[in-house]
């Protein structure tokens, strides 16, 4: 069927893009404007070029009374990476065990993992805090990510991925002499590369957005994540420096965007190279 440009489709798409991009543009532009004007609600769509210095200021010096943004970004990136990698390692290993090995209580183990899906972080936050306190991990970087790396969702996802690997492939590898760890490294993981990449993106963003747990476990300002930093900036209503808040928020977008862009390439490569 031959058709001209589909105006309706394009209009809807453009509207969607605007809807998503406008708030981002607003904080990008807003950061450069006079804080008092913003507080009065006079937000212009055009950035004020003379106010661009705000970005450098928050990045290296930080708003008064808070950590410099680069430090908070570092903490956040470290935490999000640790959470994403930790979750993937743990869920790959547990899904691998559940799918490829026959052992007593296998089903029980699987259902135990499955049921924890129903329990959000908030429910177990008090006992988790107690455990972390027992380990002496309060106010440490390790304490920030360690309790968050168990993931029922990712385990389930990898279980599906591994179940989809044809039996014949597993058997061919067995006949080639690949032991369990070698099979995982040489075949199961490369074949699932696209899923690993996709999950990494999701989990990184999940880790990046953590708020409640870091707030609870780390009171030391040097362990402030970027999310906590932003909230702290807003703290006192009438003297909030909105320019600094917006600049910080804009900078907080950068690492997740980089991760998405980097992984996108991987992700597509994984999709086109893997064939199942």
């Amino acid at each position: 069927m031959k058709r001209g440009p589909d105006y309706v489709t394009h209009a809807v798409l453009i509207l969607g893009v605007l809807l998503f991009a406008l708030p981002v543009w607003l904080i990008l532009a807003g950061a450069t404007q006079d804080s008092d004007a913003i507080a009065r609600g006079e937000l212009s769509l055009l950035p004020d070029p003379s106010g661009l210095g705000i970005y450098a200021r928050v990045l290296f010096a930080g708003a008064p009374g808070s950590q410099p943004v680069w430090h908070m970004l570092l903490v956040s990136t470290g935490m999000a990476l640790a959470i994403a990698v930790g979750k993937i390692v743990i869920s790959v290993l547990s899904a691998y065990a559940v799918v490829f090995f026959r052992f007593p209580f296998r089903q029980l183990a699987f259902w135990a993992i499955f049921i924890t899906l129903m329990l959000p972080v908030e429910v177990r936050i008090i006992p988790t805090y107690a455990v972390m306190a027992g380990f002496g991990l309060i106010n440490t970087f390790t304490g920030l990510w360690l309790p968050l790396i168990a993931s029922a969702t990712a385990t389930l996802l990898f279980r599906q991925v591994f179940t989809a690997i044809p039996d014949e492939l597993v058997e061919a590898a067995r006949m080639d002499g690949a032991g369990p760890l070698r099979f995982l490294r040489d075949i199961a993981l490369p074949v699932s590369a696209a899923n690993v990449a996709a999950l990494f993106v999701i989990l990184f963003v999940y880790g990046w957005n953590q708020y409640l747990w870091p707030l609870l476990v780390a009171t030391d300002p040097r362990l402030d994540t970027i999310v906590i930093g932003i909230v702290k900036l807003i703290g006192v209503e009438n003297q909030t420096d909105w320019g600094a808040v917006m600049a910080t928020a804009t900078l907080a977008l950068v690492p997740p965007v980089i991760v998405v862009l980097l992984m996108q390439r991987w992700f597509v490569a994984g999709l086109t190279e893997g064939e199942k």
Partner: protein
């Protein structure tokens, strides 16, 4: 290169018995083809030999040593899977080299073996491609290559050609046979394809519900099927079966549809009136001026010959393979050629050889220990 011996091999999955007592011996370099209907346990048999499943009972001897306790990788057996089971993320070279790397061969040795196998299979140009960049036939060849480079004692093929189109299948069939002869590797080949069953193996094992129905050379299986199951399974179109009774003191059979056929090869044992099943292949029926009237239902022209499907009186179905074009008309006259008929006992379905000729009857697996 090795001999393979299966002794009293049985396999059950829970309550269901999939294989019941398989005994068989493969000579060095022999190729045995296993045929049978879907679900009769062919793949299970291969997987037992490969070590991917463990037998419920019985022994598997490779070169005289029991390999039951060994891992698949330690048995020195290579398997070609129906869906090829190539590693999708590896190049053709790596697919073939993977098993060798795990065995710790040197880089040079690996390269040499892979190059050699690639040359043998005409894969030289394709070594750097990924499986998804290959055609079905090429993938098939890579799967073969992966088995060859291992230089195993035994090849196992599980319907390796069933995913290929007809033309490629013919070509690969010849190629597999050629390769197997040339390399002289003892092989088990599973198929449900008639032609592969007839042409590929030195001997043929027909499995029926996990039972070995017959083990003999393909020609023997075709000419002297051990029972009605084998007779109906081997040969296309399938053999016609007609009910009959023994008559003339065992010298002839009276067909339920009328005529009396004298046995050309001697009398059959049993009382007058013993119930028989007479088998006649479609190609051993001829259109004649006088014979049994066949009500024609369908004519399938195959070019050089025609298949005529119809009913004898009483609704007995019959297929005739007629060289050339079938004559028109609603009924044709069919002559039965007694020299080609097969006689089976009606109750058991077993072949009924002439008196005094039992020794010449097709050997059954349990008795067949020809080495």
């Amino acid at each position: 290169m090795a001999t393979l011996e299966l002794q009293g091999l049985r396999k059950s999955f829970g309550e269901t018995e999939v294989l019941r007592r398989i005994d068989l011996t493969l000579a060095d370099g022999e190729m045995l083809v296993i045929v049978g209907a879907s679900g009769c346990g062919k793949s299970t048999l291969l997987r037992l030999v490969a070590g991917l499943e463990s037998p419920t009972e019985g022994r598997i001897l490779l070169d005289g040593t029991d390999v039951a306790a060994r891992d698949p990788a330690e048995r020195d057996i290579a398997m070609v899977f129906q869906n090829y089971a190539l590693y999708p993320h590896m190049t053709v070279f790596d697919n073939m080299a993977y098993g060798l790397r795990i065995r710790g061969l040197s880089r040079d040795a690996i390269r040499q073996r892979v190059d050699e196998a690639a040359g043998l299979l005409g894969l030289g140009e394709l070594l750097q491609r990924k499986p998804r960049q290959l055609s079905g036939g090429q993938r098939q060849r890579v799967a073969m290559g992966r088995a060859i480079v291992r230089e195993p004692k035994l090849f196992l093929f599980d319907e390796p050609l069933s995913n290929l189109d007809a033309k490629l299948r013919v070509q690969m069939r010849a190629e597999i046979r050629r390769l197997q002869r040339r390399l002289g590797v003892t092989s088990l080949y599973v198929t449900h394809d008639q032609v592969e069953a007839m042409t590929l193996g030195d001997r043929l094992l027909v499995l029926h519900n996990g039972h070995p129905a017959q083990l003999a050379t393909p020609i023997e299986v075709f000419e002297q099927p051990a029972d009605t199951y084998v007779a109906g399974f081997i040969g296309a179109p399938a053999m016609n079966f007609l009910d009959a009774t023994l008559t003339e003191s065992g010298r002839a059979a009276r067909l339920a549809v009328g005529p009396v056929l004298r046995f050309p090869d001697g009398p059959r044992p049993g009382p007058e009136g013993r119930r028989l099943t007479i088998g006649i292949r479609p190609e051993h029926l001829a259109l004649a001026a006088q014979g049994l009237p066949l009500a024609v239902e369908l004519v399938e022209p195959l070019g050089s010959e025609s298949l005529i499907h119809g009913h004898l009186q009483g609704g007995v179905p019959l297929v005739v393979k007629h060289p050339g074009h079938a004559p028109g008309g609603e009924t044709v006259q069919v002559a039965l050629l007694p020299e080609h008929m097969h006689v089976f006992d009606h109750e058991t379905g077993r072949r009924l050889p002439p008196i005094g000729a039992e020794t010449g009857a097709p050997r059954l697996v349990a008795a067949g220990s020809d080495q």
